[in-house]
Amino acid sequence: MANEKSTNVAGARPEGATATRARRTLSTPARYVINTILVVAFLVIGDLMVSGGAISRYQGFVLQQVGIYIIMAVSLNIATGYLGQLPLGHAGFMSIGGYSCAIFIIRVSEAIGVTSQDFINGTPVCGLLFVVGVVFGGLCAALSGLVIGIPALRLKGDYLAIITLGFAEIIRVVMLNIDTVVGFELTGGAKGLIGIPPYTSFLNVFAVVAISLFLIHTMMKSRHGRAILAIRDNEIAAEATGVNTTYYKTFAFVVSAFFAGVAGALYAGCIGVMAPARFGFMKSIEILVMVVLGGMGSMLGSVVSATVLTILPEALRAFADYRMIAYAVVLILTMIFRPQGLMGRYDFSLGNVIEHLMNGELPWARKKADKEADANA
């Protein structure tokens, strides 16, 4: 869903069909209505397929992880693709979100007497707990993003990468040791936080995915998003035109951390255990690979590559020992032939596609017209 050349396509064509009459357009509310209907339809059909057994529990479980990694990749994309920085500590925010949401839900459900069976049945109280827990997880991650972002964003490039890497390690070590140092039961230390109620399902994970994508999309279309893009393209020029670069850099970083926290909160409920060792350096790199592979600055790219890279190892499970090799080969081939990532900076806009269709601008029609133009020349 994004800005695109909508008029220049028509302009490139020879005089004829469309140029003579006014180009038909879709109004913004109409676009939102179409997208909302499609998203709701996707969620309803998906949920029916899960409950009806058309999607097995194994596939449903992998799909939940796909949703979680979509949020992770898209949120990191804010900091790398849109803001143009290279933070390497995204897994740290994920773990903060996961731990805080899981601890919150465990403690509250103990206090009000909700059992994990209630979460499986999906009582209204659990729905409320889920929403509050996920937002709480996101806010905790955003808060740590703020604490880390203010000093870290004074640095650029490699230095920023290293300082965020360092902070993520600090978060991991704090999760590991906070229990013994402070002297009470919080994160479970090395043995991990266990017994997290299964509060995620296909429906609520993908509802959160849809809401997150919508929020990030609208943010990037707003004044704030434009300021972030301006900083990426040229920080000095942006500052000269009056963009408060420090504010917007921190803002983008905090938003990125918030959604990583949301994804972490979903992850905790999905897997049921949180162990600090899972949120090391490699997890951050894994997510960065998703963003780079999809194309930095493309939301569609992040979504596609997060989906592919989560499903690929599972789809290749039959090949057991060779699956990690295949995974690596896919990465290498993509980087050789598409160094800008699968999608580059291209973003998909259903509204624009419909507009093209309404105006009879089809890809093959354009090719034909080009050929005719070539023949005439």
């Binding site: 991990g192 897997i271 057991a320």
Partner: protein, 397 residues
């Protein structure tokens, strides 16, 4: 120019060929498994690659040996045993993925997982399905608290800590220091239980020193422990670290005893020497399996293992062998009771009940369950004599 392949075309071609190669496998993955009445399908999961692969591979070889022997002896009720072996890389997410995959493949029971955190994740996920789970080596106490479907054949971390504390009291140690990997759940679990029990028994814990995974120099911690003049030092870590700790402590002039847990198994007898025979003199650890045990079934197992894999079985191999023994003993009784694998729910419930009432003479001791998923079994205290392991004492359950 017409015959050169452009980069774009190459990319398209390679993409198309990849898709063509993948499509059949994905379709195969989607196909429903056929239920064969003459095969009993049991899942085996563990880490076969990654950081903890050595334990997963050891447990797997024990299970494979047992199943090979069982199939050679005619299987169960005339049915052949088929193992569905899946790698989970020591990761909780992968482990739950594997669990759901096995559910889909229609296994009747699962032997696994190997390490604690993934095992707990699987135990939590399996709660809704009543899937029989027997872990050979997941020692975290919480494993069995989620449902009555989860069992283990090994003793827990706290149990080991208490055994060693009782042993220390019996040996008459007055002052004990501890050094442990503070980032490992196993090491922390044993250490905490040891400290609690030892203090109850009136032993003074002079110092507890933690170190981080991957450390190779322990002299700073050891110096401060030795300064408190302890009678013994508890080092409940894995053998690679224990070897270095023992060697460095002896270099610093420590003459007292070392106490360890079953992570010490493999410290001698392997390809590498982790500590010299002289340094290991006066060290004790607890384990349920040692090749120096001259019980007939243990020696038979060691011989069979040697014939099959041409190496000495470790503690983990023996635990995997016993996990398989518990599992297939239960399946045999369910089969004899006339249950049919096609009625999966009832069959699985039957296996769980059969495991709970089972009793086998395993190579790691006699194992039975008394109302919980924790085994009631004996433990051996092992010491070293001229660099060879020797049973010092047997502690009955």
């Amino acid at each position: 120019m017409a015959h050169t392949i452009s980069r774009r075309d190459f990319l398209r071609l390679s993409g198309a060929s990849c898709a063509a190669a993948l499509a059949p496998s994905i379709l195969a993955g989607c196909a429903r498994p056929k239920v064969d009445e003459n095969v009993i399908k049991v899942g085996v999961m563990g880490p076969y690659s990654g950081e903890v692969a050595q334990y997963g591979l050891a447990v797997r070889s024990g299970v494979e040996l047992f199943v090979k022997q069982l199939n050679a002896a005619g299987g169960i009720n005339g049915k052949r045993i088929e193992l569905d072996i899946q790698d989970e890389k020591g990761d909780a997410t992968e482990a739950v993925n594997v669990y759901y995959k096995m559910m889909e493949d229609g296994v009747v029971a699962i032997i696994g997982d190997v390490t604690s955190t993934p095992s707990i994740a699987v135990a939590q996920a399996s709660l809704r399905d009543n899937m029989p789970l027997v872990s050979g080596s997941a020692t975290a106490p919480d494993l069995i608290k989620y449902g009555h479907n989860t069992f283990r054949t090994c003793i827990t971390d706290p149990f080991q800590g208490r055994v060693m504390a009782d042993f220390a009291a019996k040996q008459g140690y007055k002052v004990v220091g501890t050094i442990y990997n503070s980032g490992g759940d196993y090491e922390v679990g044993v250490n905490d239980a040891f400290v609690r029990r030892a203090q109850e028994k009136g032993i003074q814990i002079s110092r507890q020193e933690g170190y981080a995974a991957g450390d190779v120099d322990f002299k700073a911690q050891l110096t401060s422990i030795i300064a408190t003049k302890p009678d013994a030092i508890l080092s409940p870590n894995y053998y690679q670290d224990d070897g270095k700790i023992v060697t460095q402590a002896r270099e610093l002039g420590f003459k007292g005893a070392f106490l360890g847990a079953d992570g010490w198994a493999n410290i001698v007898g392997g390809e590498q020497e982790y500590a010299s025979a002289a340094d290991l003199e006066g060290c004790f650890y607890d384990s349920s399996f040692v090749s120096a045990n001259d019980a007939a079934n243990v020696q038979d197992f060691i011989r069979a293992f040697n014939d099959e894999f041409h190496e000495q079985p470790t503690n983990f191999c023996a635990l995997g062998y016993d996990a398989a023994m518990i599992m297939f003993d239960a399946i045999r009784r369910v089969e004899e009771g006339g249950a049919r694998p096609s009625e999966t729910e009832a069959y699985r419930a039957g296996i769980i009940d059969a495991i709970a009432t089972g009793h086998v003479e395993g190579v790691t001791g006699a194992i039975s369950f008394e109302g919980t998923g924790d085994p009631v079994k004996s433990t051996l205290i092992i010491t070293f004599e001229n660099g060879v392991e020797k049973i010092f004492d047997t502690i009955s359950s």
